[in-house]
């Protein structure tokens, strides 16, 4: 048998792959991932980037409140995007806020991914009554608008948690509320993919060898169904970040002491008609750019990872 000797490193493998090449050839994918990288980097290392800490009251000066952006009349060079009603630098506040938004978004999507894929994979694999119950459950869940579901969860949680704990627990409640409303998508996609994979011969081969169901599901089937799951996961991430902002805007999200993007938009909303437009405008535009970039990247991933869409 012919064999060619080749020692390829992982990096060479990546560089050789179709995904890499399709990435290089797609300006949308490159631009959106550069934007996302900058946003992620600035949000997670915000302490080292900005000179201001908006959560340290001693550094704030009410005298500098409502400073407009630097390029407008009355703007100060040290506050590029201006300040809000408490004299906090807008740019720093947005970056701190987007960190909260990203943490909530990622955690919620990972939570719903684990829940949805776990249920979908087992439902597709075992079939029968269990599958029917799980899938009808997702159908029921899908009839409830996700924002309503999140509000419901939030309301129940507020009733159960004592008042002092509210602010502390708010972020976890939020993650749970968003996560619980997103899982049916994952369950449906992973069940459908599992149904295809479980009839392939490699699964039969493992069964004949005597491999247990658990190992077949997680070692053999799971890696093979991850592609579509990752695609909807990316698009779901944008949805989760938007859901977080919506909930925070409605006042049931994270507390104003640790503002997320949604909270910032809500706080700024009060000043919109008194002329201080920048307080709500910049967080909003930041949210749009963030969600848009994630969606563009998700679209590119869907086109690349789905062999049926390939030309």
């Amino acid at each position: 048998m012919f064999q060619v000797d080749k020692n390829i490193s992982t990096w060479d493998r990546i560089k050789d792959s179709d995904i890499y090449h399709s990435f290089i050839k797609s300006p949308t994918a490159i631009v959106s991932s550069i934007i996302l990288f900058i946003i992620f980097f600035c949000s997670f290392f915000v302490e080292f980037i900005t000179p201001y800490n908006p959560f340290d009251p001693s550094s704030l000066s009410l005298m500098e409140a409502f400073t407009p952006p630097s390029w407008t009349e009355g703007g100060l060079a040290k506050f590029i995007l201006g300040t809000d009603g408490q004299g906090r630098d807008m740019l720093s506040t947005i970056l701190y806020g987007s960190r909260i938004s990203l943490i909530v978004g990622f955690s919620a999507i990972i939570f719903s991914l684990i829940l949805g894929v776990g249920l979908g994979l087992t439902a597709g694999y075992f079939g029968g009554k269990y599958e029917m119950i799980v899938m009808r459950l997702t159908d029921v869940q899908l009839t409830v608008p996700s924002i309503l579901m999140a509000l419901l969860v939030d309301g129940i949680a507020r009733g159960l948690i004592s008042r002092e704990m509210h602010d502390e627990m708010a972020i976890y409640v939020l993650i749970f509320a968003i996560g619980i409303s997103e899982w049916p998508q994952f369950a449906r996609v992973s069940r459908a993919a599992t149904l295809v994979e479980k009839n392939k011969d490699y699964v039969s081969a493992s069964t004949i060898i005597g491999v247990s169901n658990l190992i077949i599901m997680f070692k053999h089937i799971l890696p093979n169904i991850l592609r579509p799951v990752l695609v909807i996961g990316t698009i779901g991430l944008a949805l989760a970040i938007i859901a977080e902002s919506t909930l925070s805007f409605l006042g049931v999200g994270v507390p104003p002491t640790t503002p997320s993007l949604g909270t910032l938009i809500r706080l700024g909303n009060d000043f919109l008609f008194s002329g201080e437009w920048w307080i709500t405008f910049f967080p909003a535009i930041f949210l749009v750019i963030l969600a848009f970039s994630i969606n563009l990247l998700g679209d590119w991933m869907r086109d690349t990872l789905n062999p049926r869409l390939k030309k």
């Binding site: 064999q3 392939k200 011969d201 081969a205 004949i208 005597g210 890696p223």
Partner: protein, 560 residues
């Protein structure tokens, strides 16, 4: 003066890394009233040539040079010409009759539509013509069937309809791309006879693209052999098949399993002159070789399997009887063949033996113990270890996300958890070498291997548990004929040296004849007859067996 002249035709596929030449300077001529067989293995460019004639090359491929002259017109000069000719002067038949008909139109509508696009006829005239065509291709009650939808026809009937569609505008050239590959052997011969008859009656020039040397031997007047885009040899069928000049053609012909005799090994003619010796089986020293005792290793008694739909899943009213009261034995150390057409239940029986399905009723005994009633997991594992399976499709039988060494180590570790790492590695290497793969293969992923190599990996995995019974479900039907010969040789060597018992399932009678000691013939879930291979081929008892033997394409027919 030939009717169709293909001159110096090249087709290129510019890819990311390199340009793939699907056809390189191919010269073919076809006369009227003649069937030219175009054979080659997968990827040899035979379909590319067929598609290039009518300029149906998928993007990014393109015809880079050459001309196609039909009659006295160069049809590639003007792209509009080809569109006019496609369907009118040139008729096409594709492999899958399921997809070449539109399911939401009656066949009558499809025929009339095609006729009226190309010929200047009124609806009434077109209808008369269609009915006559349907009669000509052998569809009974053509007036009534005219208003039926494609799903109301069987596979063979549908292919007849496709042929009538191809003929409806009086073409002079017919291109048939694997027209019978999706059909069972009994229907295959009818369709081939029909093509032969039409060629004579209508004085057509026919290009028959196929991978099946038996079909070529029985149908084609001349044959062109292709390999990786090059035309290797072209000439009269009899001359090419009996006295091939090129090494490649020789190896192709010698790989075809003969239907009239049993040979001990396939002769592999390799241009590099190697590998024609018996395989050195490295795992022999680890193998717990069992002496063959004169006994039945597998006994199958009154096996039934019906597929019923229950309340919770999609329900249809009928339950399908896939296997119906099947009884047979497999002796230790023998190769038992199960043959039958698609839907005869042969794979279902295999899956029940390896315990993927439970039978509806009846028992399977392995080494005198009933394995269908085992409840305990430990007990089951003992049998899992002794019964292994090789699957038909080498592309779906290996998990693409695991390295070859992880695929092979899975059964070893599962049945021998205490094995040390170095021992495990050397065992994997021994297994790989036993199936003629090099040790470095262990660190590769399955997609880096060809179909035949994947099938070898599959065999290595099956051997890892040291089974006594190997169930082979159509192990070579997805492979090219020369690869098939290698894999069959390998299986024979392994069986001989490891004292394996093999259950060999196939629809391909010549292959079964080469591989098996005894054969059972299945039809619609029922066992027609079981007898020794030579008896079955020389004096078949059951009518169905006789029919199958009569219809199977015989490469030897060329000698008569």
């Amino acid at each position: 003066m030939s009717f169709l002249k293909i001159k110096n035709l090249s087709v290129d596929y510019p890819m990311r890394k390199e340009t793939v030449y699907a056809a390189k300077g191919v010269n073919i001529e076809v006369n009227k009233g003649e069937i030219l067989g175009l054979v080659g293995e997968s990827g040899s460019g035979k379909s590319t040539v067929g598609n290039a004639i009518i300029n149906l090359i998928d993007s990014p491929g393109k015809v880079s040079s050459g001309s196609v002259i039909l009659g006295d017109l160069n049809i590639h000069k003007d792209p509009k010409n080809i569109e006019k000719y496609r369907g009118k002067k040139i008729g096409l038949i594709f492999q899958d009759p399921q997809t070449s008909l539109n399911p939401i139109l009656t066949i009558g509508e499809q025929l009339i539509e095609t006729i009226q696009t190309h010929l200047n006829l009124t609806k009434e005239e077109a209808k008369n013509k269609s009915v006559n065509l349907l009669k000509e291709v052998g569809i009974k009650d053509a007036e009534i069937r005219f208003n039926n939808y494609p799903h109301q026809f069987s596979g063979g009937m549908r292919q007849r309809v496709v042929i009538s569609l191809a003929l409806c505008c009086e073409p002079e050239l017919l291109i048939a791309d694997e027209p019978t590959t999706a059909l069972d052997v009994s229907i295959q011969s009818q369709i081939l006879d029909l093509i032969k008859k039409l060629t004579n009656e209508r004085n057509l020039a026919v290009i028959l693209i196929t991978h099946d040397m038996g079909v070529i031997a029985e149908t084609a007047d001349r044959v062109a052999v292709m390999k990786s885009g090059n035309l290797i040899e072209i000439g009269e069928t009899k001359k090419i098949l009996t006295n091939p000049q090129e090494t490649y053609t020789k190896s192709l012909v010698s790989s075809v399993p003969p239907t009239n005799k049993k040979i001990s090994r396939f002769v592999i003619i390799d241009s590099e002159k190697k590998n024609n010796h018996k395989n050195n089986i490295k795992i022999l020293n680890r193998w717990n070789k069992k002496e063959i005792i004169e006994q039945d290793l597998v006994q199958i008694k009154n096996l039934d399997k019906s597929f019923k739909d229950n309340f919770f899943t999609e329900n249809s009213k009928n339950s399908v009887m896939a296997v119906n009261n099947v009884t047979f034995n497999i002796k230790e150390g023998e190769s038992f063949g199960l043959v039958g057409e698609s839907g005869s239940g042969k794979s279902t029986i295999a899956k029940m033996i390896v315990n993927l399905f439970k039978p509806s009723s009846g028992d399977i005994f392995f080494d005198k113990i009933c394995i269908t009633k085992i409840k305990q997991k430990n007990e089951m594992m003992r049998f899992r270890k002794q019964i292994q399976m090789i699957f038909q499709d080498p592309y779906s039988s290996l998990n693409g996300r695991l390295k070859v060494k992880d695929i092979i180590s899975e059964p070893i570790k599962l049945h021998n958890p205490s094995i040390s790492n170095s021992d495990l590695n050397s065992y994997i290497f021994d297994l790989l070498e036993s199936v003629e793969l090099i040790q470095k293969s262990a660190d590769r992923y399955p997609h880096e291997f060809s179909g035949g190599q994947r099938q070898r990996i599959s065999i290595a995995r099956a051997l890892a548990t040291q089974p006594r019974l190997l169930v082979c479900d159509e192990p070579t039907s997805a492979l090219d004929v020369s690869i098939q010969a290698q894999i069959l040789n390998l299986l024979k060597d392994l069986q001989e040296q490891l004292n394996l018992t093999i259950l060999f399932i196939s629809h391909d009678l010549p292959v079964v004849r080469q591989m098996c000691d005894r054969i059972g013939v299945l039809k619609d879930g029922k066992l027609c007859e079981v007898s020794n291979t030579e008896d079955l081929f020389l004096k078949p008892k059951h009518d169905y067996t006789k029919e199958l033997l009569r219809l199977m394409p015989k490469i030897e027919s060329i000698y008569n």
